[in-house]
Structure formats: structure tokens, C-alpha cells
């Protein structure tokens, strides 16, 4: 089973918002979609969900065009956080709508999760805090049992505990390879440890599609304490300095080879320590100029 987005383009008021977007997405994958605010992440989702009529392109599931077979749309789940109909409804009313559209909707689990997160089923959606709404959106997404779940900035406004709960739930959901997630964020830390792949949207186009496992297999983040304050050439040429504090350097080397390892050790550093490599480190090291990531912060 694969979802494929092919040459998808959308203009608003004559201005291209997304152009020629192409990617594949299979169940079991958690894909991060990153890009600066206003780059077109939500427009991409809205176009995929048939809210917007695209100028060009198509979305297929297992080779079948969703426009030709609208029923396939039931395999996709997305709640637009800005424009949704939930406001006036109470939480206990929502399964009636979602249960009608998603054949596998699990109402029992929905109510159980509502209870687990101490949400009042009798509350109107609009009376909930931003974080609670995000939680309800995620609960609806999980209990819809749709194959492809799109989450737009799902961690926005959530406290650390809830955020971790959600991340765990998302990871658990993909364990049996039946569901896939496409998660947008402008904060790379949110996607760290969650995404397998990262799609990078820039200037209305998908400029990169990274497999993080492959990138991580080659890269290393190292903390060095050198004998003097001069930054050696090997670091300047092969790595990206993340932090410089006196003689303490933190460097990310995206293509770490035995030769580089030897060169670094030949400097006889006072301290040579490998640090955990985050998604943000990778982007800062490798892609900052390429992607405009530094502008996202």
C-alpha cells in the first residue's frame, strides 16, 4: 500500500503556494514535513484532502486516483486546526460524525482516551484550551483508524508530558505497519526521535526528502577540547561547528570517515566525546544554507 503525491500544484490569488510536489508515503512511516511558517505546509495538506482544488497534479493510493475514486479519501485523516467544524459540538457528539465517515472508527477507544486524558466529554470543543484541542484532534486521528494520518503542528501548545504521551502513541500506532503519519512542524525538536523521513518545503517546492536513518548512519556529533584556541582545518573543511566556547568545540561531521577520525585524534584533544545527534544538529550542520533552516529559528 502506498500513497503517492504527483506533481501537485496550488495557486492562491494567482500566487503559487505549492508547486510540483512529489513524494511517496507508505504505512509504517512517520514523515516529518518541515519548512518555515507560510511556506505552504497546510496548503499542501488542504490540497491533498480535497479542500482546495489543485491547478495540477494528483493523489493516488495504490495507483488509484483519489479524485476518480473518492472513497479512497476515507483512508486519509486530517483535521484543519484553523478551519474545522468541531467548535459548537460537544466531545461526545464527535464520534457520530467521524463514525459515519470512517468505517473503522473506534468509538470505545475514543471515549477511553477522552477519559484517560481527563477531558470532559460534555465540553464543547471551542471551550477547550489550545492544548486540549490538539489532544482531541489526535485522539480523533488515532481512533479514526485511517491508514494515512496527517497532523498539522500537532505539538503546538502542548505541555511536555502530553507531548511525550502523544509521541509515544504515534510510535505505537505505526508499530504494526498499518498506519503512517505525516507530521508538519516548524520546530525540528518536535520531530526528533519520531520521524523516519523528513521532507523539506522551501519556496513552494519540496526541496529535500531525507531518510534520517541513512543520514544518521554517516554523521557524528563530537565535543572536543583542544590544546589551543585555533580551529583546525579538518573541522573547518569537514564539519560544521555547532558551538565554540573557548577551547571547547562542538562539531557535527555529516560524512564521518575513518580518515577524519584519525585526523581528529591526531590533534591529541584533551577531551574527545561523541554526543547524541539531534535532527536540529543535522539540519544546522548540513542543510542550513541549503534550506534556509537558520531562518526558521
Amino acid at each position: 500500500m502506498t500513497l503517492q503525491v504527483t506533481a501537485l500544484s496550488k495557486q492562491i490569488s494567482g500566487r503559487p503556494i505549492i508547486q510540483d510536489i512529489n513524494f511517496e508515503w507508505a504505512p509504517g512511516e512517520i514523515i516529518g514535513l518541515v519548512g518555515r511558517n507560510g511556506v505552504g505546509k497546510t496548503t499542501l495538506f488542504r490540497t491533498m484532502m480535497n479542500h482546495y482544488v489543485p491547478e495540477a497534479g494528483q493523489l493516488t493510493i495504490d495507483g488509484e486516483d483519489v479524485q476518480q475514486t473518492p472513497q479512497l479519501q476515507q483512508q486519509l485523516f486530517f483535521i484543519d486546526t484553523q478551519y474545522n467544524f468541531l467548535s459548537t459540538y460537544r466531545l461526545w457528539e464527535l464520534p457520530r460524525f467521524f463514525g459515519t465517515v470512517y468505517p473503522q472508527f473506534d468509538e470505545k477507544r475514543f471515549m477511553a482516551l477522552i477519559q484517560r486524558f481527563k477531558l470532559d466529554a460534555n465540553s464543547q470543543y471551542r471551550r477547550l484550551s489550545k492544548g486540549m484541542r490538539a489532544l482531541v484532534n489526535l485522539i480523533l486521528a488515532l481512533t479514526s483508524n485511517a491508514t494515512y494520518i496527517i497532523l498539522d503542528e500537532p505539538f503546538d501548545g502542548l505541555d511536555v508530558i502530553v507531548r511525550e504521551n502523544i509521541a509515544t502513541m504515534v510510535i505505537d500506532e505505526v508499530a504494526d505497519q498499518r498506519k503512517g503519519f505525516l507530521i508538519s512542524s516548524h520546530d525540528l525538536n518536535e520531530l526528533d526521535g519520531l520521524s523516519d523521513r523528513v521532507l523539506l518545503l522551501k519556496n513552494s517546492q519540496l526541496v529535500h526528502d531525507y531518510n534520517l536513518e541513512e543520514v544518521r548512519a554517516r554523521a557524528k556529533k563530537i565535543q572536543l577540547v583542544l590544546n589551543d584556541k585555533v580551529i583546525p582545518d579538518v573541522i573547518k573543511q569537514q564539519g560544521k561547528l555547532i558551538r565554540v566556547s573557548g577551547r571547547v568545540l562542538v562539531v557535527v561531521i555529516t560524512d564521518y570517515t575513518p580518515a577524519i577520525d584519525q585526523e581528529l585524534k591526531a590533534l591529541h584533544p584533551v577531551l574527545f566525546e561523541e554526543l547524541p545527534l539531534t535532527l536540529e544538529d543535522l539540519f544546522r550542520a548540513n542543510l542550513a544554507h541549503d534550506t534556509g533552516y537558520q531562518m526558521m529559528k
Binding site: Y52, F97, T100
Partner: protein, 314 residues
């Protein structure tokens, strides 16, 4: 109530507003009926609630103290068309519908089907209630006599009028995206139709047509129904291409702006200058052209004035 899931979804969504419209209609029918029964006694003009001659003719009954097809049912149809189509746009339910796995075509016709199922039921209940009130409540010494010709004709004409009014508000709600301007537009157009019908009647009863008033009525009804069907199908075709980035704009289909402008200017000019002199026609044309431009393009005149002034001063 509905077997198909899409119909259930539409019913789930709109049952509250349709129920509210039904309650208002039934209350309206109740109040009007009781008022008529009371006033016939107070006025003491006649002891016949229904004019026996009129009700036996194959014409819609239009005597006093009794309406064979309540005016409230017209309002119910008009409001339902507006509400069911517009509320989904205003409350962002269209987002859910468009990604529900049902084609837009199915969604559109399902909305129409569910709304009309309720409206037809309401027609039957409201009419039965009205007739029951008259049957039970006719004061002692007064008569309430009905006959099939007048009743059937009233129902056919009334239902056709309801369909037409529904089609107008429904279609307007497909193409207009702002609540206040939508109500103003559709109310203005609906009221103006009385004037337009008058012009049509004048043309058709004179040479070369020379139709009788009955012929004009039946012809108008046929045209009215054909126009309704056209609006339903045109609405369906447009709904298929509705892209929600235009939510909140006056026209949800920007490419319709120029055609709507042309039709508006011609229609208003005709309405206000019919059988008037040339000066009236020119004034009507200029005013409707200016108003139509301001309404459809919403030029920010104040903003442009300040920009122009700043530019000149700068």
C-alpha cells in the same frame, strides 16, 4: 430515518437547523390560523371562511381568512436553502464533507434530498395542522368548506413556488461566501422578483402574446420550475469546483464576477426603468453599474484616497 451513510451525515449535521425552521413554520401557521379564525368573528363581514366560488375553480385559492398553502411554507423553503448550503461553508463543515470519501456530486444531491425530505414532511404536517385547526376551530355559525380544484391547484402552485424560492437561496448560497451580503443579495433578489413578474405579466397579456391571466400564471409556473431545475444543476456543477481558499470572499467563484456584474446591471436597469423615459434608464444604468462595481469588487476607496494623497504630498 435515512439509510445511506451520506444522508445520515447530512441529517446529523442539519437536523437542528431544519428542526428550528420547522418549529418556526408550525408556530407561524398556528398563529396565522388562530388569528384568522378570531378576526372573521371580530370583523363580522362574512360567515364563510372560504369563498365557495373561488375554491371550486382550478386556480390557487386567494380569498381572505384562509390560505390553502401557507405563506410560512415559502419562508421555510427559502430559509432551508440558505441555511443548509451556507452553514456548511460558514462553519467549515465543507472541509469535512469534501474529505469524507463521498464525491462532491453525492454530497450536493444528498443535501438536496435530505432537505427536501424534511420540507415535504413539513408541508404535509403544517398543511394538515392548518386544516385541522380550521376544521376543529371554525366558530359556531360559520362555515369552512373546501373543494379539490382550489386545494389541489394551491398545493401545486405553492409547492412549485417553494421549490423556486428554495432554488434561488440555495444557488445564491453556493456562490456567495459571506453571511450578511448573502442574505442581503438573496432577499433583495427575491423581493425584486415581484417587480420582474409584473413586467413579464404586462408583456404577456398585451399584443402579440395576449395571454389570459390564467395562461400567464401557468406559463410563469413552468418557467419558474425550469429555472429552478437549471439552478439546481448549475449549482451542482459549480459545487464540484468549489475550492475553499475563497471562504469568506463575497463570490466563491472569482471567474463569475464579471458575468454576475453584467446580469446585475441589466436586471436592475430593466427593473427600475421599465416603461420610463430615457433619462430614467440612463440614471438606473449608471447607478446600478456603480453600485454593482462597489458591491462586487469592494474597492477600498478610502485606502486608495489616502495612498493617492500621500503619493502627491510625498
Amino acid at each position: 430515518m435515512f439509510k445511506q451513510r451520506i444522508d445520515q451525515l447530512i441529517w446529523q449535521r442539519h437536523r437542528r437547523i431544519l428542526f428550528a425552521i420547522a418549529v418556526v413554520t408550525l408556530l407561524g401557521v398556528l398563529i396565522i390560523s388562530l388569528t384568522a379564525l378570531h378576526s372573521v368573528v371580530t370583523n363580522n363581514e362574512t360567515h364563510q371562511l372560504v369563498d365557495a366560488n373561488l375554491i371550486r375553480q382550478w386556480r390557487p385559492y386567494n380569498g381572505g381568512y384562509f390560505s390553502a398553502y401557507s405563506m410560512w411554507l415559502f419562508l421555510a423553503a427559502w430559509l432551508s436553502g440558505l441555511a443548509v448550503m451556507h452553514l456548511d461553508l460558514r462553519d467549515n463543515f465543507n472541509q469535512f464533507l469534501f474529505s469524507s470519501g463521498y464525491s462532491r456530486k453525492r454530497v450536493y444531491w444528498s443535501k438536496l434530498k435530505v432537505t427536501w425530505a424534511v420540507l415535504l414532511l413539513l408541508d404535509v404536517v403544517a398543511t394538515a395542522m392548518e386544516y385541522l385547526i380550521y376544521w376543529i376551530g371554525t366558530p359556531h355559525g360559520y362555515t369552512w368548506t373546501i373543494a379539490w380544484p382550489g386545494i389541489l391547484t394551491s398545493w401545486v402552485v405553492g409547492l412549485s413556488m417553494s421549490i423556486g424560492l428554495f432554488a434561488i437561496s440555495w444557488f445564491a448560497a453556493v456562490i456567495v461566501g459571506q453571511s450578511g451580503p448573502l442574505i442581503a443579495t438573496v432577499a433583495g433578489f427575491t423581493i425584486s422578483l415581484a417587480g420582474f413578474a409584473g413586467i413579464g405579466g404586462t408583456i404577456l397579456t398585451k399584443e402579440p402574446f395576449s395571454l389570459t391571466s390564467d395562461q400567464v400564471m401557468w406559463l410563469s409556473l413552468i418557467v419558474w420550475l425550469i429555472a429552478s431545475v437549471i439552478l439546481f444543476f448549475w449549482g451542482a456543477a459549480l459545487y464540484q469546483h468549489l475550492s475553499l481558499e475563497h471562504n469568506g470572499e463575497y463570490l466563491l467563484f472569482p471567474h463569475l464576477r464579471v458575468p454576475v456584474y453584467i446580469v446585475f446591471v441589466l436586471y436592475v436597469t430593466l427593473l427600475f426603468s421599465w416603461s420610463s423615459d430615457g433619462v430614467s434608464t440612463v440614471v438606473s444604468f449608471v447607478l446600478s453599474a456603480l453600485f454593482g462595481y462597489a458591491w462586487l469588487w469592494r474597492p477600498r476607496l478610502g485606502e486608495k484616497w489616502h495612498q493617492w494623497r500621500e503619493h502627491n504630498q510625498g
